[in-house]
Symmetry: C2
Subunit: 349 residues, 2 copies
């Protein structure tokens, strides 16, 4: 059996955690894990449970984040992409250059939170076994805790084994009514964005879904080491279509399976999602770092490098970080990107 | 007629403007005036309208604030008190040391906002004339714009002239029901905390109200200049009773008059009071400094030395200043002191 690999996708900028997240220190590098480590560090820890050695972990990130990423992932092979092109080109480039054709690899986003490391490792090993045995694309489906509209959904089809199904249909983030229908049907799971497949099977599916993309990257090799690879990517990447692996591969492929996860999972897509996993005081407040909370209920107050003080608030977020301040209702924390865009636009004036 | 003097009281720390106000830069030094100057600078400008030269303006402040205060008041005589003892000792000490017995002087708090400089100067000159003619204590009463509970009130007695009355009774900050009764009666004015009187008349009233205080300070002289005066105050002040001039003098004296002001006035006692005088956008928001306001109504967003961003809020304050953040409802801005105290307590831990 050829070696297994893990590809960690660490190229995101995580603007929804503004002002804590910054271009030079995006979400996956912030100490957002329950134990105060970065999400990337905990993802690397999970990856190490699946491979024989750290150099079987590839981390794809932006060129300017490589040093910070390497510090969180000692021994991993950190690859820099010259421009962001979403997940399909990142996966295809890393796999083409660095993973043997017959090897299976797991794709793990760097910014997810999972507490039950043992359950994750068990499920992932099972996914590897399936992917090594069958020419299939294995995804992890999360039993939905509720009709969340911030996740994609996958409908399960025929049952193939314990917690293992054919994937019948992928749906991007639905509206609230549709999400409710999905959850009530009992047939849908959250699409975790974590996958296991053989390189050859992945490229077969990419060839069918996006032949130009597959053709542009398939021939890449790791000759010339990391810097040679990155030099080639500087030539190739800018012209590539920016497209997610869900759209380029999973939504069209006939051979997608979904393994229902037995582990907890969250993509921590917002301040609100992060806060749900933090300890709270008697009045339901999350006070993180240098936070002063006076007469508040169910608030999230974060002070990094300065005091954040909240008084008389309910269901609000107050963040002081990187010399800036954000305040908004928790219910709107999914929209913080609007604020960071407004701040950027202002800066550009 | 002996020269007139003005005594500016600039010793406050203005904690209700935390985090913008800091011990080293309290409220009166912040650019809170409508034109972006400090309240102290505008107070000094008003004072200059009443006296023949800048050296007839005395400014009493804390020793550590003297340099900053002097910059705002070029040519004024700036006096440092070694410890804060409220308004009665500050007025008595400055008057005893620096004002001739027969001279009248106005007392102006350094942190009030008045836009109509001409009307102020007219009213103040009239108050001087009254105080120079009669052995009375002249206070300025402000026609109440509403039942505000953040001000003291003065009930007017017999009418002595146009807008000039005997003061019948002083009341400290009332509760809301009482404030409504006051305003509905038509007999009450806000107590502005600005006064005009002769030094001899003031000391007569202080002698009656607080003989120990009067005795401790009456003998002070300006021999030895400012530093000699301050050396004596270092010995005298710590033992003095901390007491307001309202309580030590005005509430008991029989010879208090109240001149109904023809000028606008606010003591800018809170973020909310300050915001009422600032320009607003179409949705009622005050955006000051480096402020980003997304989908908010009737909010106050202040960014000093960093971005303050608010999204989806109503009737809220969001302040980023001096490396700290405050968020609270505008309606609670009177209570910001609670936050600054909590922050201090935290720092002391």
């Amino acid at each position: 059996m050829p070696d297994r690999y893990v590809l960690v996708l660490a190229g995101g900028r995580g603007e929804r955690f503004w002002p804590w997240s910054q271009p030079a220190r995006p979400k996956q590098l912030l100490p957002l894990a329950r134990d105060g480590r970065s999400l990337l560090a905990t993802t690397f820890e999970r990856a190490l449970r699946l491979v024989p050695s750290a150099d079987r972990v590839l981390v794809m990130t932006a060129l300017d984040l490589k040093d910070a990423v390497q510090r969180e992932c000692p021994g991993a092979r950190v690859l820099g992409e010259p421009v962001p092109r979403n997940t399909a080109p990142a996966i295809a480039a890393a796999a083409a250059g660095w993973i043997p054709d017959a090897s299976a690899f797991a794709v793990l986003p760097a910014d997810h939170a999972i507490d039950d490391l043992d359950a994750f490792a068990r499920d992932a090993r099972r996914a590897f076994e399936v992917a090594e045995r069958e020419p299939v694309l294995v995804t992890f489906g999360i039993p939905p805790a509720g009709p969340d509209t911030s996740f994609g959904y996958v409908r399960r089809g025929a049952k193939l084994g314990e917690r293992l199904f054919r994937a019948a249909q992928f749906t991007e983030k639905p509206d609230a009514a549709r999400a409710r229908t999905f959850v009530e049907s009992g047939e849908y799971m959250w699409n975790s964005g974590m996958f296991v497949w053989r390189k050859s099977v992945f490229f077969g599916a990419l060839e069918a879904g996006r032949p130009a993309l597959a053709g542009a990257l398939r021939g890449s090799s790791s000759g010339g080491g990391v810097s040679g690879f990155e030099d080639r990517m500087r030539e190739v990447f800018p012209a590539l279509e920016s497209i997610s692996v869900d759209y380029a591969v999973l939504e069209k492929a006939p051979n997608v399976l979904v393994l229902e996860a037995s582990f907890d999972w969250d993509d921590l897509g917002s301040w609100g999602a992060w806060a749900r996993r933090q300890p709270r005081d008697a009045r339901g407040n999350v006070a993180f770092g240098d936070a002063v909370v006076v007469d508040c209920d169910d608030c999230v107050v974060v002070g990094e490098g300065g005091t954040a003080a909240a008084m008389g608030l309910r269901d609000m977020i107050v963040v002081h970080a990187n010399g800036a301040t954000l305040s908004c209702p928790i219910a709107q924390s999914e929209g913080v990107r609007r604020v960071s865009e407004a701040v950027r636009a202002r800066g550009a004036e």
